[in-house]
Symmetry: C2
């Protein structure tokens, strides 16, 4: 049977040949994660994804969630699936075993995450947000909060959410109007309305725990006056038993383009004055705490979008190998052939292949950076890898989801007319994928993050570290003559990126700041392109060294790595150079044009 | 109230300032279409679109078409709308009055078409296909066929379709298996199954006329043995009255990503041996006849995709001017501002603006070429404009729908989270738009058409004529110093396009033909980019000459034309140059990569 979701061989390549994750098991905290265990984890995740999750994905889309008088029902099959998933202890793969986690390296859990999200990402959102809420409690909670909430979240007994957005406060979180009033017992009475709350209400668990951003009465305006609260749907007694309903009322769910299996709720807190929360972390430091979660959430969103892309790519390849249509252009006498023989289909499949492979390597690498931090006792090393994570986050979210959507779009085109029909899987993948470009900070905001915050971090040292990592790969690749042409192109691209970054940094600090930010997204694009080229070079270099004496069945795989690099450097990087030229020219039309010129 | 669908000022600009369509009224056949009449037509089309069509669009999406035991019900509101539309005689705007047409210039009807399709393109498909079927009868029908069918089609009393696709014959029409057996009375018994038939069954009219591609028993394999038949749902007596049911059975409708308001049917013809058709045109010349219709249909599909884009652009601009979110980057102290002040939003709006304007000009210009042919008595002129239409068709379909989808995608991003919610209009626009990249020949096929058929037409003369037209615009623009920088860039782009075209033509005729076709779509892209630049230069040139002494309210409009050109030449053309570099390098990875390298 054809593989689904992800190419297992490629996952193994990244884990064992590109990143050598087994090396991590030399450290105590990861001691049990030797190669055999890692492979077993990947196999188990794949089995669960293919056998249990994929069959629920379409139902989630077609039936969606149902809202009725404040209650939300998820698709019927999700109930059993959530039990199986929790029984397998998949929700907190990286967390400490004492709280119900598995203590797995993030590079390894990336593979499991890819399979799960590729199989049914709307379902996975329930656990993903639960994990994020748990993380907030783990990082900022008091011992009491941890004892009450943490294990129940990490084991999926309860789920969690993230209550930021309000009708008038989307990208501008600081504009929120939900209030908190301190009570005599130290708790807070919460009052306000939140929208776009993923998993905000559902019928899978007995309780739902909401981290809520609100403003304590009298606190400053804007983000400086925002605090974070823990607000359960049902109050929780000190012994962990459930108390009264906490006046968190679901007033409706959204009718969305995709991710129908996940409930997107409007919630009213304290409509009857009976919504009680406890402060999580310090007063007025809510945004800082939320950013911890948001950075993780952004990486997760990158994984969600990417997972749609890898799944779409696999479907497209399988389809292109099976679908007979039209003759081979140079052998018309042979009649109909599988469409993978047609040049334009190959073009699309190779675009998809290159991006999927490079994105996989990038996302696993970001996980790997976390693992290095976890095992390193050298502060400089930890700082460096933390910096890499931070500068790669807008790329792993913004650039990756843009490309993931593009890959899904190509999959529809490869399917032709069938791509538009919902009985086939690719239309839904594109619809599901679309939101990843928007939530957790639109990709425009990711671009601003890269230009406005990350590029200048530590006076540019973080960006220099990233360039240094890429340079190291180039240096290694230069030893292989077969990669010479491609390596040279990657090096040219890296040098040009350095110039562009310098130019953008300067422009952003000049009186042309608005012009700079009009090019923030193009800058994210070219940065992402160069990072894709880096990953493909790293891969091709690894593959090239393995080709000699490789098993016969591995040869097309390794050669395919070289082809991805060749394609990307020959067909994508020239376009990147064009984008860089446009950025360097920094034309002012976008800023100068009058508002009245849009629509005469 | 904010304008919807299209910027009326811009439509007038194209009709009266760029193309000067009033000049056409100097000719007898267009005598009545003076400026006043043209403006009245546009106003009436706009009123109908805004007041009657837009309100039915969402219903069409939400309720869709319903299939029950061979019958299909369209959304309830479509019935009355179809009556109003037909009462206004909009179905055959360009056709001869003797058959129920209005005899309007195509440049002018483009404006009406834009409003209608932008308002509810799934609804408009019923009349669009009816028009196409009528055109086939008009061009290839016997007098008897014309008398029976033509007026009833052009007035919308009956609707028409187009039966090409079968489950095993999509892009490869020649693989079809539907058969026709000649009867003693000269009619044919038709037998076969067709899929993806837009409007193949519905409850709006008493009869449906199906032009059907089928193979007469004993005819050659492939496209050479295909004939075209006229197959009504109900047989038609010689006096025009309806006869028996003609054994055309709808077996189901598709569940699609978009255009839910249009029924996409599977039809079985002659399941009981009682489906009778009459030959339309000559035996075995069916493909040639169908191409007449397909070329028109391709232009219509370009209009459909484009109309989604202009509508999405208008919604996005209106939203960006109203939605308050976040502070101005350089005036944070002023608090929340309309998001049109944010650089990344302006970037997206200006991309959308440039494409929408350039695409409008292109589509109207193609209509205008038809008008020139209609009024010219010089064969060389007619040949030249016919050539322009033919070479512009793959661009007007393939390139335009690719960009239209991109514009819709930007609209979603401008809306942020609301863009993903189906209560807002932009999600549906993108879903509706997506099929335009696929049907009437996928955009990959459009690219093959440009490279394989159009580029070499008349030994390249047609492409040279196109280059010459662009060169003329450049020559005129050179007289305006304010446009000097942009004009120079457009000229560079045109010269580079010439080189690329020469290279592609040579490569396609060499043993590297597969490599050439792997770059067919990129070649379509750069050709389209240069044509967009041409249109924007033509517009800016027109606007620049009007700025002196312009009315105050026109100044932002004219200046906006200069900004579109400035943006496009500064930010898009450099990327085009990168794409051209990649095409010229014509890397072979896409062709050389082994099938086994896709998925290891």
């Amino acid at each position: 049977m054809a593989q689904l979701i992800a190419d297992r061989r490629d996952i193994e390549f990244v884990l064992h040949e590109q990143l050598n994750v087994e090396q991590l098991s030399k450290n105590d905290i990861f001691a049990e994660f030797n190669k055999k265990t890692v492979d077993m984890i990947v196999s188990e995740a794949r089995n669960l994804a293919v056998k249990e999750m994929i069959p629920t994905w379409k139902e989630g889309d077609e039936n969606g969630c149902v809202f009725d008088a404040g209650k939300v029902s998820v698709p019927a099959s999700f109930h059993r699936l959530f039990e199986i998933y929790n029984a397998g202890e998949w929700l907190a793969m990286n967390e400490k075993p004492e709280w119900g986690g598995q203590g797995m390296p993030r590079s390894v859990s990336s593979a499991a995450s890819e399979y799960f999200n590729g199989a049914n990402y709307p379902f996975m959102m329930y656990s993903g947000l639960t994990h994020g809420a748990g993380k907030l409690v783990e990082e900022f909670g008091t011992d009491e909060q941890k004892n009450i909430f943490l294990k129940n979240l990490y084991t999926g007994k309860w789920t969690g959410t993230m209550l930021l957005t309000e009708a008038g406060a989307g990208s501008d979180v600081g504009a929120l109007e939900t209030t908190a009033k301190k009570n005599d017992d130290g708790t807070y009475s919460i009052s306000g309305s939140k929208i776009f709350i993923s998993g905000g209400e559902h019928d899978m668990t007995e309780n739902i725990i909401h981290p809520v951003l609100a403003r304590i009465e009298g606190a400053p305006a804007g983000t400086k006056g925002i605090s974070l609260f823990l607000v359960p749907k049902f109050r929780v007694n000190k012994d962990g038993s459930l108390g009264a309903f906490n006046d968190v009322v679901c007033t409706g769910i959204e009718h969305k383009m995709g991710i129908h299996g996940n409930s997107t709720c409007s919630l009213t807190l304290g409509g009857k004055g009976e919504c009680i929360g406890t402060l999580l972390g310090e007063e007025n430091k809510g945004m800082k705490a939320m950013f911890v979660m948001m950075n993780e959430a952004r990486l997760l969103v990158g994984m969600q979008g990417y997972s749609c892309a890898t799944t779409a790519y696999m479907y497209a390849v399988n389809y292109a190998k099976e679908r007979i249509q039209g003759a081979n252009l140079i052998k018309p006498q042979n009649g109909g052939v599988p469409i993978i023989q047609h040049p334009d289909v190959r073009r699309q499949l190779l675009i998809m292949k290159s991006y999927v492979e490079a994105m996989r390597s990038l996302l696993y690498f970001v996980g790997y950076c976390n693992d290095i931090i976890a095992v390193s006792d050298d502060q400089a090393t930890r700082d460096k890898y933390q910096g890499l994570i931070e500068i790669l986050t807008p790329v792993a979210k913004g650039y990756v989801t843009d490309r993931a959507f593009e890959v899904c779009n190509h999959a529809i085109q490869v399917y032709g007319g069938y791509g538009f029909i919902e009985e086939y899987p690719v239309a839904q993948l594109m619809r599901d994928c679309r939101i990843t470009m928007i939530y957790e900070g639109t990709n425009g905001i990711q671009a601003m993050d890269l230009l406005g915050r990350k590029l200048g971090m530590k006076k540019g040292q973080v960006f220099m570290d990233l360039m240094g990592e890429i340079q190291n790969t180039i240096k290694t690749a230069k030893e292989l003559p077969t990669l010479a042409a491609a390596t040279e192109k990657v090096e040219t691209a890296l040098n040009k990126l350095g110039e562009v970054a310098m130019h953008m940094g300067k422009t952003a600090m000049s009186d042309k700041v608005l012009n700079a930010f009009a090019f923030a997204h193009p800058f994210l694009e070219v940065t992402g392109d160069v990072i894709m080229a880096w990953m493909l070079l790293w891969r091709a270099n690894t593959a090239a060294t393995k080709l000699d004496g490789a098993k016969k069945k591995d040869i097309p795989f390794y050669e395919g790595q070289m082809k991805s690099l060749e394609y990307f450097t020959s067909c994508v990087l020239p376009v990147t150079f064009g984008k860089m030229d446009a950025i360097k020219a920094t034309n002012g039309a976008m800023i100068e044009i009058s508002e009245d010129s849009f629509i005469g």
